[in-house]
Amino acid sequence: MTFLTGWGRTAPTPARLARPRSAEEVAELVRRAPGRGVAARGLGRAYGDAAQNSGGLVLDCTALTSWSLDESSGLVTAAAGLSLHDLMTALVPRGWFVPVTPGTRHVTVGGAVAADVHGKNHHADSSFGAHLRSLTLVTADGGCRTLTPESELFWATVGGMGLTGVITEAVFRCVPIETSRMRVDVERTRDLDHTLETMTATDDRHRYTVAWIDLLASGGRMGRSVLTRGDHASRDELPRGADPLAFAPASRLKAPPWAPNGLLNPVTVRAFNEAWYRRARPRTGLVQGLSPFFHPLDSVDGWNRVYGSHGFVQYQFVVPFSEEATLRRIVSRLSAEGVVSFLTVLKRFGPGTPGMLSFPIPGWTLALDIPAGRRGLAVLLREFDGWVAEAGGRIYLAKDSRMSAGTAAAMYPRLGEWRKVRDEVDPGGVFRSDLARRLGL
């Protein structure tokens, strides 16, 4: 038995870990599933318990790494355990980029499908599932199915958190790029209203946009943000002589193996936020590498350890565009409570995919990291859950580690429809995870 947690390092549970080397081995393991069921796991970047299966079997899929690229169409066929990091390292020098990348490259293709991940281009390009041509799924009967977007099972699997089967392969279209650099504009906003106005007015001018919010700023500066917007740079924007498609993400720093609890406190985070805000001088046309633009935290290996032994939770919700009041209410409450969260991110979502349990809907999404040891956190977040649900919003399952089954059901109106498809393909409940048990999915 191995104890597993998600990226937030909370609530470890034991499971038997197996590392299949092929889709056939996955099918064989699924056919011999134990009573406590099977869950697939990639690089463990889901924050909560999505890739844990207490007392059961967990398939570490990271040995499934084959891939191929059709250079004429940009179609990539990738095994589920391949990381976006490895994929980018191979694709970028050939002039292709993944259609969607979350805030870290260290997720697998299978995880990206199962969570229907989004990135800074959601307002322009939607989420990962929108770019899929087909999927290969090992189902509860041990069979292997190829799914296309015409099928219900496809859209129960995209965003389905691995509960319809084990995804073993995905085919998706990549984006042609001239260079491995980004052309970036940086802007600062005064307060929350200014942030929302600016993003609403100008988001569509850029393919990639995001706002970092200083949650500890209060009073007239509450909700002040640094907006970062970018597009893939063209060849003529690079300095002469630069290798246009060079991609070698900076060698990674290592976070110390241990950090004292309470290292991130209102004083240190306030200082960090102040420095971050000041450092972000307004600029236009800054040329930046892909990695610092998309994955700044990837340069520090194991950054999740700085939250100390209690770990941390990430609270990410989305509320529809008409529900700015709810967003404002939550931000002001967080600011008033002095909730310590650095790198709080605000983003405008465009249209979602037909994924039945996919997270993104058109609206505002806010993501914040909070040390799990904080007193009163459970009560505060439960209160937010209520506001978000009432506003027709929802919490991202790939980030969640603490909401209740009732809340999840209220937030995901298509849960019943999803269950029907899942029950058909997995009537015996072979695919299970701690997340599924906790939320009664």
Partner: protein, 255 residues
Amino acid sequence: MADEEAPSMKNALGSVDTVLLLGGRSEIGLAIVERLVRDGARRVVLAARDAGDTPPVIGAAEVHLLEFDASRPETHGEVIESAAKLVGDLDVVIPTFGVLGSQAAYDADPVAAAEAVAVNYGGHVSAGLFAARRLREQGHGTLVVLSSVAGVRVRRANFVYGSAKAGLDGFAQGLGDALHGSGARVMVVRPGFVIGRMTEGMSPAPMSSTPGQVADAVIAGLRSDAEVVWVPGRLRAVFAVMRVLPRAIWRRMPR
């Protein structure tokens, strides 16, 4: 991946979802359940003798009733499995059944004494082992064992009751060690004199507590993954001394 065994509770912030109370009318037990529900637990199973069919209203939780007889160990496994069928994985299991009885009455009726011990010790052994089997299979969950300072060092004033608690305390510690590494755990609770229905008519001993205070300590212990909880906490120090008092003095303890 976690490098060590840590909390075996279901949610990142330490809230549990399901609770099984064996001895479903116990004041301490219900006080614990009330607090767990306040902290987010949603599904409760109360198992008791003559459980009836009118569940008490406990917060907004879903409450199930099961028939349970502590003196019939052969039925305990079935009760635990039925509870798991009703609510899924059991996050917290609390056997709270027990009888106090007076030493004088036990002196007069040794058969009654043996029956009381069978419930206070034997009943907990079967219920505890059946619960542990389930928790081990789940890979998580906590068995809360209500021991007593009466079992830490047995006094002449209530040695029948005390000896059963001494056995239970040892059983719970051993079971906790046996479960180490499985994800499941045992928490031993050692209250002093508890003022409540069970001790009605008795005058409270020094450092006594109420069922609510015991429940508060249990909740705090669950949150911090304590292995042993004393209620009140200072009894730990008091009993460090009591344990080593010479027998000639100990035997003169008034109660």
